[in-house]
Symmetry: C2
Subunit: 139 residues, 2 copies
Amino acid sequence: MTIKEVCSRFGISPDTLRYYERVGVIPEVHRTPGGIRDYTEEDLGWVETAACFRSAGMPIELLIEYVRLYKEGDGTIAERCALLRKARERILAERQKCDDALRKMEYKIRVYEKAVRTGRLDWDGDDGCCNCSSPKQEE
Amino acid sequence: MTIKEVCSRFGISPDTLRYYERVGVIPEVHRTPGGIRDYTEEDLGWVETAACFRSAGMPIELLIEYVRLYKEGDGTIAERCALLRKARERILAERQKCDDALRKMEYKIRVYEKAVRTGRLDWDGDDGCCNCSSPKQEE
DNA sequence: CCTTGACTTAGAGTGAACTCCATGTAGTAT
DNA sequence: ATACTACATGGAGTTCACTCTAAGTCAAGG
């Protein structure tokens, strides 16, 4: 499979795919005799994993470390497992932050929707979710 | 409240706080007569919102736009509401990506844990979650 | 064989979001 | 008054993750 096809399948640019390979986010991709990249199913699996983990905010550095361990062979299985557990904690924390922000947004959206209906803002007091009412005209 | 205290409360550096104010992620902060920042409760609310939304991956540009609308007054309430709805969609998508990555990780972690117990890797076939077994020694 | 277009590389450039630095001022303790 | 520390500013520098450019190579059509 050509680099173009891989790109359109995963929504990544060719530059990014080559970059991932160059820095070690994915292992070396299979080539034609002429030196053109020809992705195998296994290569695709790596690309999918990289794309998936990256889009969740996992830093490139961790993926590089994972591939490095993978290349070293079965002796690194425990290490790889530990790395993935660390990554999971990161993403869980990430998701928690999304949830926190979502709660804040939902509240603000509700207040604004009510304001649009009733014609006036009505933040119910000091719940730590305010700072959306119009600025006081102090000067 | 001094900038130092605000920093330790929200885990942000003073440079970042000043940067946020400078580019408009938060409105101008109250000052002492001498020109030193002295955060009011309202200022703190803005900082909290900015920190919360930023840590969920909301781009600075959106926050700046939100503050800009806020400063314009009540006429922008519908716009602000629309902006927040757009932001919510973004964060929801973000969270979905976290969930996707987590599922992939959980699977890999399970396989590795089993490998650590049994002494050998056992990816159950072509489920699109592989690419973690040791490289085939082809050369 | 020649053109054309997609591929290759190495290396420079970009954008977002900070982060650091140099220089100067505010406020407090001695 | 002096020293010291925390704060101020404008502007330069850094980091991450790409993204682009230039110059060259591969492969298919005419």
